[in-house]
Each structure stands twice: as structure tokens, then as C-alpha cells.
């Protein structure tokens, strides 16, 4: 199966390991992975800050970049959802809306793609230890991908998955919220970190680089021993 990777800007710039793991994982599962070089960002930073006009060109650029893709797979629930929102956001430009619709229909978040399209629940990964999963908000509520990451994690040999208390509460990332409203964000991430600590796990796993940078960055600042991992990294451990 031929897929085009939408790596996201955070992964491209700051978290290349997530991108590498995603590529290796998908190749191991029999996909041929392509990385359209023109790709930049899904447009959320501007869009979510109210700069809707500024974000439109970014959206159109992304639509153009993936025009020829068969499947677009993205290791982020939030960015995948943004791509799926394009038709709605471009509804006053019918020409672009139609093209956006094509993109939305072929876009999948990584775990959703593995479970729903590839129909694979056990990717053959192995990792000794305990993990808890933080269901990020956009992936869970807006994209409505809830069970796929848990299903995949539960099949990792040697890994015990412990439910995260208060898991539905946002970690306090929220893109620019994390810097604009840092006083609130700090309280939110602290509560999230406390929940993670209460589970006593080795790994905190998530499916969105933004949330993981927030929670992981806070845990690192506090010198906590919990390792922060993107689900692609876990699933790529064989």
C-alpha cells in the first residue's frame, strides 16, 4: 500500500525520531512510504489564534502538496483533524472546498490507519515495562479516534498498560495557549503530571507531539524518571 506521510512541522523540526519511527513502522507493516517534500504545517498555529486569512494559504498549500497521494497518514491526531476540517473552513471557496474534501477523505491518523485500514491490531512490537496513555483532546473528541491506540498498545508484548486517572482532562498544551496563558497551562500540566506519577509507570505514551512536548517538558524540568514516548516509537520497538 502506498502512503504519503504528513509528518507535521513539530516532528520535522523538533521530534524527528517520531517521524523515523512512523516510517519504519509503516514500512514494516508493508507500506511504501513517500514524503512529499513541499509539506509544511497544517495551519493550526495561525488558525487557532484567530488568523484565519493567514492560515488559508497554508491550507491550500497542503492540499496541493498531497493532491496525488493515495492515503495521507499523520502521526498526530490534532493535525490529522485539522486536515479533515479544511472543507468546512474553505466552504466559501467551492473550488478549494472540493479539493479539500478529497484530501479529508484520504487522511488518517497513524493508529487509525493501522487498525481501520491495514486491519492490524498487533504490529509485533515488544517492550518490557509499564505505560500509561494520555488521550489527547483533538484526537479523542474531534477526530473521534479513541480505541485504536489502546488496542495497539495492548498488543505490545511485555508492556502493561495502566489507565491514566482523569485521562480526559486536557494537558494544558492548546498550541499558543501554552505560552499565552502559561499561568493556567502550568496548573493543568502539573495536574496531568501528578496523574501520570500516581500510576508509577515507566512510559508516558501519547499520539500527539504537541501534548508530549508539553507534558514531557514539564516532567523533564522536574527531573522525573518517566520517559515520554510517541506511540509510533513504542510500536516501532521490535
Amino acid at each position: 500500500m502506498k502512503i504519503s506521510l504528513f509528518a507535521t512541522c513539530l516532528v520535522d523540526l523538533f521530534q524527528s525520531n517520531i517521524g523515523k519511527s512512523t516510517v519504519e513502522l509503516l514500512e514494516r507493516l508493508g507500506c511504501s512510504v513517500d514524503f512529499p517534500k513541499g509539506q509544511t504545517c497544517c495551519g493550526q498555529p495561525a488558525y487557532n489564534s484567530g488568523y484565519v486569512k493567514a492560515s488559508r494559504d497554508t491550507m491550500k498549500h497542503t492540499i496541493r502538496t498531497f493532491e496525488n497521494a493515495q492515503y495521507v497518514v499523520c502521526p498526530s491526531g490534532s493535525c490529522a483533524y485539522m486536515l479533515k476540517e479544511y472543507p468546512h473552513l474553505l466552504e466559501d471557496e467551492p473550488y478549494w472546498q472540493e479539493r479539500a474534501q478529497m484530501l479529508a477523505l484520504k487522511t488518517y491518523e497513524l493508529t487509525q490507519f493501522i487498525v481501520d485500514v491495514l486491519k492490524i491490531e498487533d504490529v509485533g512490537a515488544k517492550l518490557e515495562g509499564t505505560a500509561t496513555y494520555h488521550p489527547s483532546c483533538h484526537m479523542t473528541r474531534l477526530l473521534q479516534v479513541q480505541s485504536a491506540p489502546i488496542t495497539l498498545l495492548r498488543h505490545v508484548k511485555g508492556l502493561e498498560v495502566i489507565e491514566l486517572p482523569l485521562k480526559e482532562n486536557c494537558c494544558g498544551f492548546g498550541g499558543t495557549f501554552s505560552v499565552k496563558m502559561s499561568a493556567i497551562s502550568e496548573q493543568m500540566v502539573d495536574e496531568k503530571v501528578a496523574s501520570i506519577q500516581s500510576t508509577g509507570v515507566h512510559y508516558l505514551v501519547g499520539a500527539d507531539a504537541g501534548c508530549l512536548m508539553n507534558i514531557g517538558g514539564r516532567m523533564k524540568r522536574q527531573n522525573l524518571q518517566v520517559e515520554t514516548k510517541h506511540i509510533a516509537e513504542i510500536l516501532n520497538m521490535v
Binding site: S49, G174, Q187
Partner: protein, 476 residues
């Protein structure tokens, strides 16, 4: 009290409330109870999504035909012997109500909980006119007695107070000498307020839903105070936000079911009362005179705008009870009687961006509010809409942010610019970190690194790795 509850700036309000440990514990445990009960009550029905869809279609139908239903409502109130006053502004509403109080030579007024009367500062106006105004909802009574402490939640207004604080208020103001056990405190309020019910000249209520077809007012409580407010005084005045109505009893019951389940997780609250006109001939209790005051106060300018869905709101507070931001900052931080997600959308619309422009940014757009709303208001999308209006229509965004975001749009809409910029990132950021993480970020990063580590840019961009990876693949 008016809608605005503080003259402090948003950051100051935040700081004060974040440090209020009792309040924050109270809020998180209240959220837990509310969420659990609401979820169970929704689950029980087995088809909650269908209920939400029905709630949404009823509310949208009413808004689309609002002029007709208000017409029908007013005709039917009059047919039942009542009076109707349409108030476009808070001032008009207050003047009318004060004029009734004067005409009746009213000295004592008992009130059931009503957000719209808080919004228009009705109590202040009545007190200035020489009336004694007594709130009878237990939570509201506590706040009123405590020198008008503002409400911090639209359903349980005294959520931020503990029982010791309440005992002190009762002791100081009423000479209360009993314990701080909630039962004792409630019994004291019962005794004090019972006397007020029996001696009041006017009863004022809000309105959960007006019913156009019959000219009725539906009131939803657990305490029974609204019933006594409307049964004992000779004059009753009900004040409603102009959008709070339904066509018939049949839609009323659906919305009441959605309200009670979403607000407190009950199938129905203890008292749902439907009042129609003044008392009928030969009836002993009930008001001799009934006035309905229908308040616009800024609502009509929301109608027909991109924010219209906020008028679907039935004031259940389910959005407040799941909000992870409200959880940390409590109700008073919002500076408005309307707090949480509903407050962050509604307060700037009714009170203006001068006072409330920060509220739409006090959200991570996590969508929990939208998920629980029983009438499907897209709350997080309306918050985004506010940001768009603030930036693009009002031009109120900070210049530095605007420059950054426009550069973002420019940079990410072009492959070559993006590639150039991303290549530079590693070099630019190098002095700020240890190679792996950045602890003291420059510019906009500072707010991030004040709290957390920021990952240093990849030494090798993912795209460069990928190119090599492909080449290796081709060789093998």
C-alpha cells in the same frame, strides 16, 4: 451586582484565584461529582445523541421563529390575565420593575435564583428604590448575606465557599450559633427565609422556559424556593432572557429533561413548576398580579450573527463542569457572572471586548464543552470565532503576534521559505540549549521554558533523514 463582577485585570484575577487552594479543591471535587452524575444520567437513556439532536433542533427552531413565539407568548400571557413588558435594555427592565415596586409600595421582595436579573443588576436598582431584596436560593442567600460575594458557578453559585465560611457569615449577620454541619446551616436558612416568604410584598423569579402556546413560565429548582416566591406575595414578576422559550409543553418537557440531567444528573429536579398567569378566581394563594419582563439587553445583536448558536443555551452548566480551565481558575477569574466556556463565549458578546477580550483565549480548544452540551452548541468553535473577530475584524491583536502569525502564514504557504526557515532553526536556537533541550528560550519561547524544557531543534531535520533513508533503500 451586574454581569461584570470585578474591576481587576484578567491576569490579576487569575493570580488571586489560582492561589485559592480551598476553591480549587472544591471545584475539582464538584467537577468530579457533576461529571459522574451527568454521564450516568445521559448513559441511562441509551440514546443520548438523539436527545441532543432533538434539543438542538428545538432550540434552533425557536431562534429561527423567535419573533413569532414571543408574539404568541405575550398574547397568551395577557389572555391569562398577566402583563408583558418588552425591555430592550437593562435600564428599561429595571425601570419597569422599580415602577411596579413603587406602585405597590413594596418594602420586602423575595427572589428566586435568576441569572438574567443578576445580569441587569436588578437588586441594586430595587435597593436604591428603598426595597429590601432577599435571595431565597440557599447558595444565593449565602452570597447575598456575605456582602454580595459574586456567584462562581451558574447552578451552584456558592461553590467556592466552605461550610466554615458559611457558618461565619450566618453568625456575623444573623447571630447564628449552631454548627457548620450543612443540615444545620440549611435549617437556619429555612427558618429565616420562611418568615420572609410569608411577609414579602413582591416575588421575583427568573424563567427557565416560557411556553408560547399557554403563556406559561416554567421554573426548575430542587429547594422549592421558586414555588414559595410565586405562591405567597401578592405580586409576581418573572424576568426572562428573550430567547428562553419553547412552543408548547411538549418541547418544554424535552428541554427540562435535558437540563436536569445535564446540570445535576437528576431525571427531574424536585420541583418543576409551570405557572400560568395570575391566580384564578377563588384561588387562595398565588399572585393577584403577574408581570412578565422579556429582556433583550444585547441578545438581539447576537441573533443572525455567527454567534447565534450561543442563544441555544439552557444554562445547565455542563460545559463549566467539564472545563479543564475552569477547573484550575474557578468562576471568579472570568470577571463575569457567566463563567466557564459559556461565559467565555457569552460575556464578550453581552459585555464587550474591552472587558472580556482575554476570555476566548482562556481555552485550549479541547472540545470537552462541545461534547457535553445538551443542545449541541459548538462552544470551542465559537471561542475560535471570537479570536478571529478580535484579530481580523477588531484588529486588537498585539502587533508582535500579528507579525509572527502573518510570517507564519507566509512561511508555511511556501515550500522553499519553510525549508529555509526550518534549516535555520537549528542554528538560531543553538545558543539556548544543551543540544537536547532548551531551558531558557528567547522571545515567545520564554513563557514556555519558564515552566518546561523545550526540545532543541533536530540536528538533522526529519526530511533530511528521510532522503538518506530512501537512498539507502534504493541501494539495498
Amino acid at each position: 451586582m451586574s454581569m461584570k463582577i470585578s474591576n481587576e485585570q484578567f491576569p490579576n484575577r487569575l493570580e488571586e484565584n489560582i492561589q485559592n487552594e480551598f476553591m480549587r479543591n472544591a471545584v475539582s471535587s464538584a467537577q468530579h461529582r457533576f461529571q459522574t452524575r451527568r454521564a450516568a444520567a445521559a448513559e441511562q437513556l441509551g440514546n443520548w445523541e438523539e436527545w441532543r439532536n432533538h434539543g438542538e433542533e428545538i432550540r434552533q427552531h425557536v431562534l429561527a421563529n423567535l419573533d413569532y413565539y414571543l408574539y404568541e407568548l405575550s398574547e397568551n400571557v395577557v389572555k391569562q390575565g398577566g402583563h408583558v413588558f418588552f425591555a430592550e435594555t437593562a435600564e428599561e427592565a429595571n425601570d419597569y420593575i422599580v415602577s411596579i415596586a413603587k406602585k405597590k409600595q413594596a418594602r420586602k421582595i423575595v427572589k428566586a435564583k435568576s441569572m438574567v436579573t443578576e445580569e441587569i443588576s436588578l437588586n441594586d436598582h430595587l435597593e436604591q428604590a428603598g426595597c429590601e431584596v432577599i435571595e431565597t436560593d440557599l447558595g444565593e442567600y449565602i452570597l447575598q448575606l456575605d456582602d454580595h460575594d459574586p456567584p462562581s458557578h451558574i447552578v451552584t453559585p456558592a461553590l467556592h465557599k466552605n461550610k466554615e465560611q458559611i457558618r461565619e457569615v450566618f453568625a456575623e449577620k444573623n447571630g447564628y450559633t449552631q454548627s457548620s454541619v450543612p443540615e444545620d446551616l440549611a435549617l437556619h436558612a429555612r427558618q429565616v427565609l420562611r418568615e420572609h416568604f410569608l411577609t414579602a410584598d413582591i416575588g421575583i423569579t427568573g424563567c427557565n422556559f416560557a411556553v408560547a402556546e399557554t403563556g406559561s413560565i416554567c421554573l426548575v429548582t430542587n429547594e422549592g424556593n421558586a414555588d414559595l416566591v410565586s405562591a405567597l406575595p401578592k405580586t409576581q414578576i418573572s424576568v426572562m432572557g428573550m430567547e428562553r422559550l419553547v412552543p408548547t409543553f411538549e418541547e418544554m418537557e424535552v428541554l427540562v429533561s435535558l437540563l436536569t440531567r445535564s446540570a445535576v444528573g437528576q431525571k427531574l429536579t424536585s420541583y418543576i413548576t409551570v405557572l400560568t398567569g395570575a391566580k384564578k378566581a377563588l384561588e387562595v394563594d398565588g399572585p393577584e398580579e403577574f408581570h412578565l419582563v422579556i429582556v433583550d439587553n444585547g441578545r438581539s445583536s447576537i441573533l443572525g450573527s455567527e454567534f447565534e448558536p450561543i442563544l441555544q443555551c439552557i444554562r445547565c452548566a455542563a460545559c463549566i463542569n467539564v472545563c479543564p480551565v475552569y477547573r484550575q481558575i474557578g468562576g471568579h477569574s472570568y470577571g463575569s457572572i457567566y463563567s466557564g466556556p459559556i461565559g467565555a463565549v457569552l460575556s464578550p458578546l453581552l459585555g464587550g471586548y474591552d472587558d472580556y477580550k482575554e476570555l476566548p483565549y482562556a481555552s485550549t480548544l479541547c472540545g470537552a464543552c462541545t461534547d457535553v452540551c445538551p443542545v449541541k452548541i459548538p462552544l470551542h468553535q465559537l471561542l475560535l470565532k471570537h479570536r478571529e473577530v478580535i484579530v481580523e475584524r477588531e484588529g486588537r491583536a498585539p502587533i508582535s503576534e500579528a507579525a509572527l502569525m502573518n510570517a507564519f502564514g507566509f512561511g508555511t504557504a511556501s515550500s522553499s521559505l519553510y525549508r529555509f526557515g526550518s534549516k535555520m532553526a537549528s542554528a538560531v536556537m543553538k545558543p539556548f540549549g544543551n543540544g537536547e533541550t532548551i531551558s531558557n528560550g528567547p522571545g515567545p519561547l520564554k513563557a514556555w521554558t519558564d515552566i518546561r524544557e523545550f526540545p532543541a531543534p533536530n540536528k538533522e531535520r526529519f526530511r533530511d533523514w528521510f532522503e538518506k533513508h530512501k537512498k539507502e533503500g534504493d541501494h539495498s
